[in-house]
C-alpha cells in the first residue's frame, strides 16, 4: 500500500493568488503535487457550498486564496469573503472539522514563494491528519 497522499482542492482568485501560483511556477518553487487548483475571478465568488462540496466529494483539505484585503481587483470582494469564510471556519470547527483542513490565505501576485510554502505546510498538516472521512459522500446517487 503506497503512502497516503492527501488531496487538496484550492480555489484561487484570478488576479492575485492564481497569479501568485503562476509565479511559483515561473520561479520554479517546488511544492508537493497534492493540490488541484480551481480558478475563479474573485475570492468573493467563493460560496461555502464549494468548500462543503469539496469535502463531500473527498477533499482532505480545502484552500481558498485571494488578494490581500485592500488589493482586490474588484475593490471589495475579498472583504465579504473574509466575513463569510471566517464564520464558515468557526462552524466547521464547531462540528469537529480540524481547522488545518480548511485554510484561507491572502496571496498576492508577487508571492510565489508564499504560495509554495502554503501548499507545503498544508499538505504536511493534512497528511498528518489522515484522510477526511467524516464528510465524504458514500453513495453516488446523482
Amino acid at each position: 500500500m503506497p503512502e497516503y497522499e492527501p488531496k487538496i482542492l484550492a480555489f484561487l482568485c484570478n488576479w492575485c493568488s492564481y497569479a501568485g501560483a503562476d509565479l511559483a511556477g515561473v520561479s520554479r518553487f517546488q511544492y508537493p503535487p497534492n493540490v488541484r487548483i480551481v480558478r475563479v475571478m474573485c475570492s468573493g465568488r467563493i460560496s461555502p457550498r464549494f468548500v462543503l462540496k469539496s469535502f463531500q466529494e473527498g477533499a482532505d483539505g480545502v484552500l481558498i486564496a485571494g488578494c490581500h484585503p485592500g488589493d482586490c481587483h474588484y475593490s471589495k470582494g475579498n472583504y465579504y469573503t473574509r466575513r463569510r469564510l471566517t464564520v464558515l471556519g468557526k462552524l466547521l470547527e464547531h462540528v469537529g472539522v480540524d481547522p488545518r483542513r480548511f485554510k484561507v490565505k491572502w496571496i498576492s501576485a508577487s508571492e510565489g514563494g508564499k504560495f509554495a510554502d502554503v501548499i507545503k505546510e498544508m499538505t504536511e498538516n493534512v497528511k498528518g491528519l489522515g484522510p477526511q472521512r467524516s464528510f465524504k459522500r458514500v453513495d453516488d446517487d446523482e
Binding site: R83, T86, K90, L91, V95, G96, K105, V138, D141
Partner: protein, 334 residues
Amino acid sequence: MSKIEDEIRGIAKKLLEEGKVKYFTGYAKGPDSFRARPIIIDDPKDVDKLIWSPCCVNNLGVYLVDEMKKKPKRGEEPDTRPVGIVTKACDARGITVLHQENILPKERVYVIGIPCRGMADPEKLEKHARKKGLGHDAIYNMDIKEEKMMFTGEAEGVKVAFPREEVLLDKCKECVHHNPREYDIVIGKRIENPHVDKYATIRELEDMSLEEREKFWEMIFERCIRCNACKEVCPMCYCEECTVEKAKPMRWCSKSADKSNNEFFHLIRAMHLVGRCIDCGECERVCPMAIPLRKLYRKMAKEAEKLYSYEAGLNPEEDPVFATFRVDDDDEFE
C-alpha cells in the same frame, strides 16, 4: 382572562371592524391546555377565540411570509391591507429581519408587540403535571396563567403551580431581549432584560475536544430524516425552492438522508441563518428527530456578535452581516 388577552381582542376587533387589516393572526386554545395553536380570523365576531398565555409558543411570522408569497387570482385586485399579528419579542425581531431583507414591507403588517418573559415548554409542563399525579383528562382542563415566578393552572378545582424555571423553554431561559423593538402597538409593561448566558446551549460543546465534537455531530447528523419540518416552520427560509436541494440547474445536495448529505444541508442552512436567526426555537420544537439545531445556529449567532457586533433583528437600518464589512474586520487569514 388576562389584561393582555383583553387588549389583544380589543385591538383585533377594532382593526377588523374598521377594515384596517386583511385578517388577524394570533393564538387560540390548543388541543390541550399545554399548547396554544395559531389562528387566523377575519371576522370581528371571532376575536374572543384569541388568547394570550405562556403556551403561545409558535412564531407566527412564518404566516406573514406565506401571505407575501400569495399571488392574486387572475383579474382580482390584490388586497394589500396589512395583516395583524401578535408577536413576542423574538417573533418581532424576526419581522425586523424580514423588513431588512425586503421580504415584508412595513405597510403590509400591523404588529402587536408583547414584552415576554418566556414561554412554557409543553413537554416540561406535562411532565411536571404528571409528577403531581394529574392525569391526562385533568390536564386537559387546565388553564395556564402566569403569576410572578410561577405558571399556574387549575385542575379539578385544585390550583397547580409550576415553577417557571422548571418549565420554561430552554431558548427562553437564554433570552436577553424580552421587549419587542419594532411594533405598531405594544401591550404590557416593559420587562427588565435579564443577565443570563445567551449562548449557554453551546458552552458544553465548546468545551469539548475536536474529536468529541465530531462524534457528537456525527450521531446527530446521522439521524436526520430530511423531513424539512425545520425549513417549513422557519420564517427565514423563504426561498421559492430550497437552493441546496433544488434539482436545476444542478443539485448541490441530494435529498436522500445520509450523514454526508445531511451535514451538507444543515451546515449550509446554518450559514444562511448567520445574522438572521432570531432564536425563536421553532425548528427544534418541530423536529421529529430531536436534532439540537439551536446548537448550530447559536454558535453562528455568537460568532457574528463576537466578530462583527451584529445581532439579528435588532436594527432594521443596519445592513445584513454578510452584505457589509469593515476594512478593519477581524482577519485571521494572514
